[in-house]
């Protein structure tokens, strides 16, 4: 790891003054589970590290009647174990409880999960050509790509979006509060937060290098919601495919309305699957309608040389996420 100068601000405003307008020389440190690995690989080589762990107030969780606000520094373990959040937002808390293992969940934070770098092994190998590290080409397109994107049309970099909390949060209509220079505050819907990068000056999200995510707010609307992941290992890894769904009603023979279906780990950003949502919107969720939604979810998929299998996984994951949310029998659990 390249050595650096360490900063430990105590307020969000002070932290922002320590950031720079361009990515690269200054990195923010929260749980460290992503940044330290990137530094050890020399993929990240910051000369300055700004720790967010001395800032009081980034770790609060407030659940109100109309919305819940979670500080960006709240750990994954706290999200997974929070009784009110579990009751209101199982799509979020189930995903949080499935991340890594206990150590990762005790260290990793909400903000870090949303802003983590992607898992492409070419990106994380300092010796491989990679567009995101200033290379001329993407090594994954013709290389080892079994875990990469399957929605690849118009993408020069085929990373798979890594955040498992984004999926549920987007389905639930959450927004992030962001603090920039001169105390400029903005709110961005997480549905519009993510970005497909193509070069070293860009990241997987639209946070500017001199901005700090301070919190995430989830509206409390009584939505039925759930998430489903397909995993190769039960722990210590990212899912291969993940789906989150949210809608009004949709249980006990009632029609589902306002359906949102979000896919992750299948494209450079989380995908809002509108055709899939239309397939079940204003309908009763059954095995048949959930199956139809799964089929609609993969319309337009263009898998790479090794990941055609993920298309089928998305179909099934959409179906199962809808069935879990609707309270239907989990036929896949023996």
């Amino acid at each position: 790891m390249k050595n650096f100068t360490y900063f430990r601000p105590t307020t969000p405003e002070q932290a922002v003054t320590l950031l720079e307008a361009r990515w690269g020389n200054t990195e923010m440190l929260a749980g460290g589970t992503d940044l330290l690995s990137l530094q050890k690989q020399y993929v990240a080589q910051p000369g300055r590290v700004v720790s967010l762990n001395g800032i009081a107030g980034l770790q609060t969780v407030v659940v109100g009647e109309r919305s819940a606000t979670l500080g960006a520094g709240v750990t994954l373990a706290r999200i997974a174990d929070h009784a009110d959040l579990r009751r209101l937002f199982p799509a979020l808390t189930a995903a949080a409880g499935d991340i890594g293992g206990p150590q990762i969940r005790n260290m990793g934070t909400l903000g870090g999960n949303l802003c983590q770098r992607n898992r492409c092994w070419y990106f994380r190998d300092e010796h491989s050509p990679c567009l995101l590290r200033g290379g001329q080409r993407c090594s994954a397109i013709e290389g080892e790509n079994k875990y990469h994107a399957i929605f690849t049309a118009n993408h020069r970099c085929v990373l798979a979006s890594p955040s498992t909390l984004a999926t549920g949060l987007i389905a639930l209509g959450a927004s992030a509060e962001i603090l920039g220079p001169q105390n400029r505050r903005r709110t961005v819907e997480l549905a519009k937060f993510f970005f497909a990068p193509t070069g070293p000056t860009e990241r997987e999200h639209t946070l500017a290098a001199n901005e700090l995510m301070t919190s995430v707010t989830i509206p409390v609307r009584g939505l039925t919601n759930a998430a489903y992941e397909v995993r190769q290992r039960q722990s210590s890894d990212w899912p291969i495919v993940q789906v989150a769904v949210a809608f009004s009603g949709g249980r006990n023979g009632e029609k589902a309305t306002g359906v949102k279906i979000v896919l992750s780990h299948v494209a450079p950003t989380p995908v809002i699957a509108e055709a899939a949502a239309r397939a079940v919107d204003n309908r009763i969720i059954t095995d048949a309608t959930a199956t139809a939604a799964g089929r609609a979810a993969v319309e337009g998929a263009k898998p790479l040389t090794q990941n055609g299998y993920k298309v089928r996984l998305v179909e099934v994951a959409v179906k199962r996420a809808l069935m879990i949310a609707a309270g239907l029998p989990r036929y896949w659990e023996a």
Partner: protein
């Protein structure tokens, strides 16, 4: 180095595990290495930068405050092993995956390889060495010994600390809950079956098939 000395006396592996705890506990925290001098004092909250040269830090390791001098990039794992001679936590993957470096910070398990030592100040750091006190082995490592739940033993301190953390937080934990607490640890020798025996013994539960 302590491991080496103990091995030369030729004990069984079981004795070795028990004695290692004693030797380490006796000498681990005796000396704190200094890398560079003079070291700047760390003053959190000033907004000023610290490093990149070595800075003095104070860590509370197994109930004792110890001082050393490290660069900001030094991880808690490397500070414990290479600067403070607390070698129970092991460096294996060094990428927050295998769990051999597991320690408790304020009672919660973390990967010491992925925490900066400078950030562990003011927190209670607890390592496998804390499970051997006054000649008495804690119930968790003792259960490992009885169940022969280790082969090469390199992952064992991490597993023991992770298991201890679950049982400290919930002494009534069921075997399945203890196992969930070990999700972040890997044993390359595959001694999981014996570890399961140890877990069931600790939970006073008879193991079925």
């Amino acid at each position: 180095m302590h491991d080496h000395e103990t091995l030369e006396s030729g004990p069984s592996r079981r004795d070795f595990l028990q004695e290692t705890g004693a030797v380490v506990a006796a000498t681990a925290l005796a000396g704190a290495a200094t890398m560079e001098s003079p070291a700047a004092e760390l003053q959190p909250g000033t907004g000023g930068g610290i490093g990149p040269n070595a800075v003095k830090i104070t860590l509370n390791v197994n109930g004792r405050d110890v001082q050393t001098s490290i660069e900001p990039r030094v991880t808690l794992l490397d500070a414990l092993r290479n600067y403070l001679d607390v070698t129970g936590c092991k460096r294996v993957c060094d990428r927050a995956t295998c769990g051999a470096c597991t320690v408790m910070l304020d009672g919660k398990v973390v990967y010491a390889c992925t925490v900066l030592a400078i950030e562990a100040q003011g927190r209670q750091i607890r390592t496998a060495e804390s499970l051997y006190n006054d000649g008495k082995l804690d119930a968790v490592p003792a259960a490992f010994v009885r169940a022969d739940a280790q082969q090469c033993g390199f992952c064992t301190p991490g597993f023991v600390v992770a298991m201890k953390a679950v049982l400290d937080a919930n002494p009534q934990a069921a075997p399945a809950q203890v196992e969930k607490g070990l999700q972040g640890n890997i044993c390359r020798c595959g001694t999981y079956e014996q570890m399961r025996d140890a877990i069931y013994a600790l939970c006073n539960t008879k193991r079925g098939n």
